[in-house]
Symmetry: C2
Subunit: 223 residues, 2 copies
């Protein structure tokens, strides 16, 4: 039997998934990577442009799938609904408003379908420790249980792999710096403005990550 080398990766265009993309291109070669970007009507659509730019630059297969039609199923989140985007840290109670119902189970189920279609044995996504407090579907226990389901959902098992599950965002910037990731083409801000706001939870975490790694973030901020 031929060993499956193809890998699917969920790439949002944010700094975490883009760093992971660069890492697996180094590990497996660009030709074996199938990057998947899911547009679910998030406010930060600039992420998608960044994902496209990075994949083109690396010579990776890239599929953008518009799943905005599922928005009636995703009520109550500040990222998809008519709710103000909160400021502060991920640990804060008000950041719960940025939780999109069942988002990563949806994303992984689509990525696993894609893996079956392209003959890939693994799906990568960039969950890290900074996500664990506020996003239940980024925690190791969730990934472990999705893996158990993905083992039996199709004729061949697909594995969900989260290489950053012991990394914080600072560690990700350190690795990305080693890999030469062009962070000027990544987007993190929850608001969809011309420049990153510098105040929302996502910007706050990003700026701290670059600070921790001893680097200056190359993107422009409003403040």
């Amino acid at each position: 039997m031929v060993k499956k080398l193809n890998k699917v990766i969920i790439v949002s265009g944010g700094m975490d998934s883009v760093t992971l993309l660069h890492k697996i291109v180094q590990d497996f070669g660009a030709g074996n990577i199938y990057a998947l970007t899911l547009n679910y009507g998030q406010r930060h659509a600039k992420e998608i442009e960044c994902a496209t730019w990075q994949c083109a630059q690396l010579g990776v297969n890239h599929l953008v799938v518009d799943i905005t039609s599922i928005s009636p199923l995703l009520k109550g989140s500040a990222l998809t609904d008519d709710v103000a985007v909160p400021e502060g840290h991920y640990e804060d109670e008000n950041m719960k408003m940025t939780v999109v119902p069942n988002r990563n189970m949806i994303f992984l189920s689509l990525a696993i379908a894609y893996a079956v279609s392209v003959g890939a044995n693994e799906v990568y996504y960039g969950a890290h420790t900074g996500d664990h407090a506020i996003y239940p579907d980024c925690r190791p226990i969730f990934v472990e249980r999705m893996n158990a389901a993905a083992e039996v959902a199709n004729y061949e098992a697909v594995k969900v792999v989260t290489p950053f599950d012991t990394f914080d965002k600072g560690d990700i910037v350190v690795l990305g710096t080693e890999l030469g990731v062009p962070y000027e083409h990544t987007w993190t801000c929850y608001k969809g403005q011309e420049k990153a706001c510098g105040k929302c939870g996502a910007c706050t975490e990003r700026l701290e990550a670059f600070g921790k790694a001893g680097r200056t973030d190359p993107i422009d901020y409003e403040v």
Copy 2:
């Protein structure tokens, strides 16, 4: 804390899910049911008309979500792709062509998101023993593992419930007859023609189920 009584059900418009719909309307009341129909570009789009008719008749909330944009992720199935629909029994090797990559994980992940949005604690779907041989994502082990994931994917657990997991299709018709299900408004044939073909795997199983229950199927067949 208020006990959650809302239930989400995945209704295709086929005889299994429609029977389950009638059952849970009897158990919980129509006002607590949120029926979800997912259009993934299946050839048997008549199913959707049947789902709509049944929900309207019962006075159940019904949402049809078009997810045809995900079709690039679902390659190689006779139900979604440019592949001939096979004839015969579910157990036959050639029925594997009707397997849609990771379909029920996708369906359940969307239904669970909807459950979180409408405050439902359970998601129902009509998997039964006749599906087990050919569809890995209808087997009890898959449902059990999805339940483990659904327990930790969101702030509140959502349970996946499959009341027909010890029923065969004949048992379903027997129950549906007791419940007075109008089976003339259900659609099973894999082909999207005016009348059911009577030959494809789905028609074969349906006709056998009615035979086993000692009833005549009320829909028209080509043969």
